[in-house]
């Protein structure tokens, strides 16, 4: 133990002392003739594309000598990496918007202002703009709006993808499964949102959470969502599983439908061939009442490190990478759904089956913005207990109460 803590602390020291040497940004503008050095983080599979984008950026800004270094940090790991030491982080980095809260509190995001802000607000859809908003301002440049989920299914097996009940009986008849990652809070939340449960975070003057409201323990709405999940979990045609299970299942023929996002589109299309289909999520019925299954609509954004030595240039690069032209290139290269309104309207994007389903689900989705700090931890614990059969009709309201109390816990009061 000692060794690990020592190593941990020393790592912290080393990083801090390095950071301390770097000090404050002296000249954010970067004088003429000076080489502007920037670091850019992105996931492994996008390195080639990012390299090409950076070259285009350099060509368009030939007046300044740029030296841009690419490094591999995935959008999901941005906070884990930059959170330990902001000043050692990249100047511009991509992150999934569920981390905006933590990144903001860690001081890892520079606020947008001036032309950059106007352009960002003007060009992106409402959900994407809201995803960049936290406390008193906007802190990121949205570049994809596809971080959501919908239903994939096998046309030859499922004839009624509109209702959960129909879907399950179609699948049951052919002895196939529906895969949902029910113990992953991102998916679990869809049921709660579907019955009308919501949370809301109020931020104080200092930009920290001052109050969280949440009605996931509502005796009608919350209980209905819980009951639906208990019933689903007990159904023979249901399989609780993630990407690995559903991809292997579609390929092997044991799975006939799954809730997932665009990142699995290619694999599922290859497995199903002609029978590949996607649609909005189904409705579900509890105690005679029918609800539309909801979802999270997530976004990916570029963040700018406020400790960057070349802050203005970092903003310029982030704005460029999230612009319309680059979003279209991103769609063509990696089939990412644009957050830019014009790019999303383009014919090519509209013809994509998965993105069309995502867009149909859009009207029922809840934008993943201003999420309470403890939200995912609390809902995950609930989902894990539920899929393990520990949540039953008799203790449901008790478990919902614990989860809701956790969601409401404020980590950042003072």
């Amino acid at each position: 133990m000692k060794k690990k803590i020592v190593a941990l602390m020393l790592g912290l020291f080393a990083a801090l002392s390095l950071g301390a040497c770097r000090g404050m940004p002296e000249e954010s503008g970067g004088g003429s003739g000076e080489t502007v050095k920037l670091t850019l983080w992105g996931p492994t599979e996008h390195q080639k594309m990012l390299g090409e984008m950076v070259e285009t950026f350099k060509k368009e800004n030939a007046g300044t000598r740029y030296e841009i270094t690419l490094a591999v940090v995935s959008e999901a790991d941005a906070y884990k990496t930059i959170g330990t030491d902001v000043s050692a982080g990249a100047d511009v980095y991509a992150f999934a918007n569920d981390q905006i809260n933590n990144l903001y509190h860690a001081g890892a995001l520079a606020k947008l202002g001036g032309n950059h802000l106007e352009k960002m607000l003007e060009e992106n859809g409402e959900g994407a703009v809201n995803a960049a908003k936290i406390a008193d301002g906007y802190y990121g440049y949205p570049f994809t709006a596809d971080n959501g989920y919908f239903l994939y299914y096998d046309k030859s097996v499922v004839s009624s993808p509109d209702t959960l009940e129909g879907l399950l009986s179609d699948l049951g008849a052919k002895n196939k499964k529906l895969v949902i990652d029910l113990d992953e809070p991102w998916y679990t939340s869809g049921f709660f949102f579907g019955t009308g449960c919501r949370y809301e975070v109020t931020y104080g003057d200092n930009g920290k959470e001052s109050a969280v409201t949440c009605d996931f323990d509502d005796p009608v709405k919350g209980v209905a969502a819980g009951k639906a999940m208990i019933a689903l979990n007990a159904h023979d045609a249901f399989l609780n599983g993630g990407d690995d299970e559903l991809k292997a299942g579609f390929a092997g023929g044991s799975v006939g439908a799954a809730v997932s996002g665009t990142w699995n589109a290619e694999a599922i299309e290859n497995a199903l061939g002609e029978n590949y289909a996607a649609a909005k999520l189904p409705t579900f019925t509890v105690d005679g009442q029918t609800y539309q299954l909801s979802s999270f609509a997530g976004y990916k954004l570029y963040g700018v490190n406020p400790t960057s030595k070349y802050l203005a240039h970092a903003h310029r690069l982030a704005a460029f990478l999230s612009g319309e032209e680059m979003q279209l290139k991103r769609f063509e290269d990696v089939a990412a759904g644009p957050s830019n309104v014009n790019a999303a309207k383009s014919e090519k994007v509209q013809a994509n089956v998965a993105l069309a389903a995502l867009s149909a689900q859009g009207q029922f989705a809840v934008a993943q913005t201003a999420v309470p700090t403890n939200f995912f931890n609390a809902v995950e614990a609930f989902g894990v207990e539920l899929t393990a059969g520990k949540v039953t009709a008799s203790n449901l309201s008790e478990k919902l109460a614990v989860m809701t109390a956790d969601i409401k816990t404020i980590t950042a009061k003072k």
Partner: protein, 466 residues
């Protein structure tokens, strides 16, 4: 303990006495050494020692004036303004200015205090050395030259030369971080108070209270419950993992060692092969295999032996049993290797005498083998207990601490304190609680090992089995 405090107290008194004596009986050169370190030495031609001391004094005073003092003065509050956000009209962006960084203030303050202690010690030694040099001169003898001083370091002072590096390393890499960690436990350093954007400050015993009596603090009120449960499981795990490995390993070794067992070398090699496969590979594979939709469950379901998957890793209690069993797989080979060597060393005549006296194999085991093994391997058992208490690898790679439960704060059923600590620091940035937990881990491990080690036969009767 009390006698040690008395000893230390009288040591300080003696030191002060020596200083007063030096001031009283010293000439002006010795007296001036109180203010200018090394004065009494380099004016008596001990240039190297004298100037080295003077250099230390100058370096310390410079450090204190330029870094030490400003940080030390902010130690009580850990800073007043962390950062400011200003809109720059010309550039059209918000620019950031950083001021006080609580973490650096704390770090430099600790360093300053440490340096100050070293400085005081050097000053004390310097004054005494000046007095000693005066005495040597008065007696008409020749003072040692720098060359002779250096030579002494390789001869009668050799222990100092040898120990210098380890002591320095221990201070920098162990004492300083631990000191720092203890201090963090008394602050509110967490996700909402993170330099360089925000400041953190002193909160007294608040974190300890939250962990021990369950007072609510920012971040939740479940820390006390979680701590109790995780600590309990941690102890159960450490004891059962250590003992199960030890006894099963010993039994296997005895079996292999028995007369009449054929292919002994082959059996031993089989066990070594398991060691040859990197631990994390076996663990990752097993965690995939034992998952709800893993190979094991699918085979059993496919063969019609089961109607429902066995939740090896997803049911709290079963997962705890599973990790203990899997730990046998990665741990037993080491015990087998160690025991084999020792078993071959037990004098055969002991067994022969026992057999003549009519003892069966079980009696022989409890009267000869086990005492002998325990005598030699107790220190090994203790180190195994401590290693298991903090067995990060097995838990983290096998279950990641899962399954999560609602009534724990950021922990799952199989989480040990060390993996919980990891989650709190890396995922939740809750450094304040993590620091308190590590203090407790340190206390538990330290106490257990000291007590048990001092009670063992291996320490008390080193000669017994010789």
């Amino acid at each position: 303990m009390q006698t040690e405090i008395k000893k230390a107290g009288s040591g300080v008194l003696r030191g002060a006495g020596k200083l007063v004596d030096a001031l009283r009986t010293g000439d002006f050169r010795t007296r001036l050494s109180f203010l200018i370190m090394g004065f009494g030495l380099f004016t008596r031609r001990q240039f190297a020692r004298g100037f080295l001391l003077l250099l230390c004094q100058i370096a310390f005073l410079l450090y204190f004036a330029f870094a030490g003092l400003s940080n030390l003065s902010r130690l009580t509050t850990l800073g007043s303004v962390a950062s400011k956000e200003v809109y720059d009209e010309a550039l059209g962006i918000f620019v950031y200015k950083y001021f006080d960084n609580s973490l650096l203030i704390l770090l430099y303050s600790v360093l300053t205090i440490l340096f100050a202690l070293v400085f005081v010690y050097l000053w004390y030694k310097g004054v005494l050395a000046a007095r000693a040099a005066q005495a040597v001169e008065e007696s008409g003898k020749r003072l040692k030259s720098a060359k002779e001083d250096l030579r002494a370091l390789l001869d009668e002072e050799y222990h100092k030369t040898l120990l210098a590096l380890p002591v320095l390393g221990l201070t920098v890499f162990t004492v300083l971080p631990i000191l720092f960690m203890v201090l963090i436990a008394f602050t509110n350093f967490d996700v909402a108070h993170k330099p360089p954007k925000e400041l953190f400050t002193w909160v007294g015993w608040e974190n300890f209270k939250a962990l021990l009596s369950g007072t609510a603090i920012a971040g939740g009120s479940k820390f006390a419950h979680t701590f109790k449960e995780v600590l309990l499981w941690n102890i159960v795990w450490a004891v059962s993992a250590t003992l199960s490995n030890y006894f099963l390993g010993m039994l296997l070794a005895i079996a292999i060692n028995k007369k009449g067992i054929r292919f002994k070398k082959f059996w031993r090699s089989v066990f070594v092969t398991t060691i040859a496969v990197p631990q994390f590979v076996s663990l990752m594979l097993l965690s995939k295999m034992l998952a709800d939709t893993g190979v094991v469950n699918r085979l059993l379901l496919g063969a019609g032996l089961l109607s429902k998957a066995i939740p090896f890793l997803s049911d709290g209690n079963l997962a705890r049993v599973t990790v203990i069993l899997v730990n046998l797989w990665v741990g037993v080979p080491y015990t087998v290797l160690i025991c084999t060597g020792i078993l071959m060393n037990i004098p055969a005549d002991l067994y022969e005498a026992a057999r003549i006296d009519g003892a069966g194999p079980i009696v022989a085991y409890f009267k000869i083998t086990l005492p002998y093994m325990l005598h030699i391997t107790t220190p090994y058992l203790i180190s195994q207990f401590i290693a298991n208490f903090n067995n990060f690898n097995v838990i983290f790679l096998l279950t990641g601490g899962d399954p999560l439960v609602l009534d724990y704060a950021f922990a799952g059923r199989t989480d040990l304190l060390i993996t919980w600590l990891y989650k709190l620091t890396f995922n939740e940035s809750n450094y304040k609680i993590a620091a308190v937990i590590s203090i407790f881990v340190f206390l538990v491990v330290g106490t257990v090992s000291l007590i048990v080690y001092n009670l063992t036969n291996a320490v008390k009767n080193e000669e017994e089995f010789g």
